[in-house]
């Protein structure tokens, strides 16, 4: 029985990391309809910013979370202004453009900092483990879980309870009508993309003490993030949360019973089958076309 609960907690932990990584993508994909292939690179930029703060300013991870969010959000905002805003209503070109931006970010980092793995220290206060119902759980993983839930709550609040969120939802429904009501859609899109990028950056910084930091680390994350968003249903924040935890429990469980190679394959097959019969994902919000 202990093993079962241990595995449930493991699944929650994997799910919370998936949620962290997917949240930013969910916002950008869901509300702006942009398939952002540079999402993994924003995750990578966040991890590198954490490394920079630690190496050059001696700042711990916890202290640098806010600056990291701002830094990556600003980069995202600039990219939206300079590239994506010019490609409005051209979804295929947007995919290519974000892919290209991703490659440039990756090679830029490689040119500046080299391609070796980088080290981001785990906050010492969180590097031991705690007892949860008699099971020993890594404090850092607990911390990630709480942060993931908090970020989700903040994002939900922002989308549903603030003026800017209302404007964004209005644009999602009909851009031209929203504009005729005086909503500056360019500004809202820029801010939304920046916010999504900032979330990705935070995710990168937060997972870096458990994983490794390298210029091409983003590739794996962008795939995970898309799986979560596609399974959960585009435009549904709640769906993203549910699907992150479903995928976490599923891959953790199969990995325990079988191994990680099998888990990866089975989860992917499950998603493909589900998309075949439910292309809109598990959860959908009704939106007027």
């Amino acid at each position: 029985m202990d093993q079962f609960f241990e595995q449930i907690i493991t699944g929650l932990s994997i799910g919370s990391i998936l949620l962290l990584v997917a949240l930013g993508l969910s916002i950008i994909y869901g509300s702006m309809g942009i398939i952002n292939l540079a999402h993994g690179e924003f995750v990578m930029l966040g991890a590198y910013t954490a490394w920079l703060f630690q190496t050059y300013f001696g700042l711990g991870l916890l202290a640098s979370l806010v600056p990291i969010f701002i830094a990556v959000a600003v980069i995202g905002w600039i990219i939206e202004r300079l590239v994506l805003s010019l490609l409005h209503n051209r979804p295929l070109d947007t995919i290519l453009a974000t892919w290209g931006v991703g490659i440039m970010l990756q090679q830029g980092i490689r040119l500046m900092f080299g391609s070796e793995l980088r080290y981001v220290q785990m906050p010492p206060s969180l590097s031991d483990s705690v007892d949860v119902f008699g099971l020993s759980v890594s404090s850092y993983r607990m911390f990630l879980f709480i942060v993931a839930i908090a970020l989700f709550a903040a994002t939900w609040f922002l989308m549903n309870r603030t003026t800017i969120g209302m404007k964004l939802r209005a644009i999602m429904q009909d851009r031209s009508v929203a504009a005729s009501f005086g909503i500056n859609s360019r500004r809202v899109y820029g801010l939304t993309f920046g916010y999504g990028a900032g979330l990705a950056g935070l995710a990168g910084a937060l997972v870096s003490p458990l994983k490794s930091v390298s210029p091409d680390m983003g590739t794996g994350y962008v795939i995970d993030a898309f799986m979560v968003v596609v399974l959960g249903g585009v435009q549904s924040l709640g769906g993203t949360v549910a699907s992150a935890f479903i995928l976490g429990e599923l891959s953790g469980g199969i990995a325990f019973l079988q191994n990680d190679t099998v888990a990866k394959a089975l989860v992917l097959i499950a998603i493909v089958v589900l998309i075949r019969f439910r292309p809109e994902g598990l959860f959908t919000t009704r939106v007027r076309a």
């Binding site: 241990e6 595995q7 080290y119 220290q121 794996g220 953790g252 990995a255 191994n259 990680d260 990866k264």
Partner: protein, 416 residues
């Protein structure tokens, strides 16, 4: 048109000159003269500078370049400079093969130094065998290969495990948890490990492989908790090593009770995971940066002076460094007109040099290298402490797990 004798002669001469220039191998018996022409000896350097394995291959490129620069600064090889032609195969086996062909056929390099992964070595092998050129492979690998066109300067399974596995059983216990990345190298190493376990009375509690680049080990760690092995025998590679160590530590497991014993964790990976995550675990390899020898002190100082004081040396970059010196020795034995891949290969057989790890020798039978196995434990400083040093160098046996097969000068021989 009337053909006069004079125009006929002229045309014939022109044709001869054209043939001479166009097909030199018809006229010049040793076409490889061109290979060492003009006081330059061209060699290829084929390590990925981009892509997934660039993380480690960049350091191999650096160690090779360092050795070449040192040799050139000391006067080159009998007055000829080594000219490195650097290509970036971008961690992709198909690109490896393409770039290898370019270096061998296009640039006429007399040797190529390259590869980290077995996949990339297998991809370039046909090029070197067909062109009868020479590839210098510095990485520890799974053995079970017997090419006349590759000089293997890394360890094969018997050189990493023969001493390591019995030592682990004696010190920690019999129950082994085998974990590796999902490709040929970990599977062959585990194959040999299981033979040794059988011989010394150990047992395997689990054998499992994770996808390459995998970074989520919490389920694996739960399994380790529930099977309670004495030793976790790890052949996980690349950035997964970093993730495994960090998550092991975050989960609160204790290296004193359940240490990881790795064949792949070097100073390079430790630098990325941080000393505190690596502390207490063990690695078996022929070389560690802390090894005390005058040659190693010189190597480490030169490497850090050339590439930065924060850089580490490790068991693959050391092999890159000494294999370049072995190349120099082999070429030195040859007359300038004889410098060609097959003659270099013959000259390197039985060659010896004092490497940073100790005196090494190329085994004439199989072109693998006699090395000095060592067992070391990682400290929180990020460096290793060497606990066991072999008293004698160990012969490379690339087919150690396959008693019916032996690699000889003539190729693979099946014994019945």
């Amino acid at each position: 048109m009337r053909i006069s004798r004079r125009t006929l002669m002229k045309n014939a001469a022109a044709l001869g000159a054209f043939a001479g220039a166009g097909f030199p191998h018809i006229w010049v018996k040793n076409a490889d003269l061109a290979r060492a022409a003009g006081g330059e000896i061209k060699v290829g350097v084929l390590f990925s500078l981009t892509g997934t394995t660039a993380i480690i291959e960049e350091s191999l490129n650096k160690a090779t370049i360092l050795a070449i620069e040192e040799i050139n600064a000391a006067g080159g090889i009998k007055g000829s400079k080594i000219v490195p032609i650097i290509e970036d195969p971008a961690s992709d086996p198909a690109t490896f093969s393409e770039k290898a062909r370019k270096l061998v056929v296009g640039d006429k390099c007399v040797s190529v130094f390259g590869s980290y992964t077995s996949a990339s070595r297998k991809a370039v092998l046909p090029v070197f065998e067909r062109q009868n050129n020479l590839y210098w492979y510095p990485t520890l690998y799974e053995g079970r290969e017997c090419s006349k066109n590759v000089v293997y300067t890394g360890a094969v399974p018997n050189q990493q495990q023969d001493e390591f596995v019995p030592w682990l059983i004696k010190k920690f216990g019999k129950k082994f948890y085998l974990i590796g990345s999902n490709y040929i190298y970990p599977k062959e190493e585990n194959n040999y490990c299981k033979k040794l376990l059988e011989k010394y009375g150990g047992e395997v509690v689990a054998e499992e492989y994770v996808p390459l680049g995998h970074s989520e080990f919490s389920s694996v760690i739960n399994k380790m908790r529930s099977t309670q092995p004495n030793v976790i025998f790890s052949t996980v590679v690349g950035d997964s090593v970093v993730a495994l160590h960090r998550q092991y530590r975050a989960a609160g497991l204790d290296p004193e009770k359940m240490p990881m014993a790795s064949l792949t964790t070097s100073e390079n990976e430790v630098a990325a995971m941080g000393g505190e995550a690596a502390a207490g675990h063990f690695t078996s390899a022929p070389y560690f940066q802390v090894y005390k020898s005058p040659e190693n002190e010189k190597f480490v100082a030169a490497y850090q002076k050339r590439w930065g004081a924060d850089k580490v040396t490790h068991f693959v970059s050391e092999a890159c460094y000494f294999q370049t010196y072995l190349f120099k020795q082999a070429v030195e034995k040859l007359a300038t007109s004889d410098i060609a891949p097959p003659t270099i290969r013959d000259a390197v057989k039985g060659a010896e040099t004092i490497a940073p790890q100790g005196k090494v020798r190329i085994e004439p039978e199989n072109l693998h290298t006699w090395l000095w196995p060592k067992i070391a434990q990682c400290k929180s400083s990020g460096q290793f402490e060497i606990l066991v040093e072999a008293k004698e160098w160990l012969k490379p046996v690339p087919y150690a797990a396959y008693p019916g097969q032996v690699c000889t000068e003539k190729g693979l021989v099946e014994k019945s």
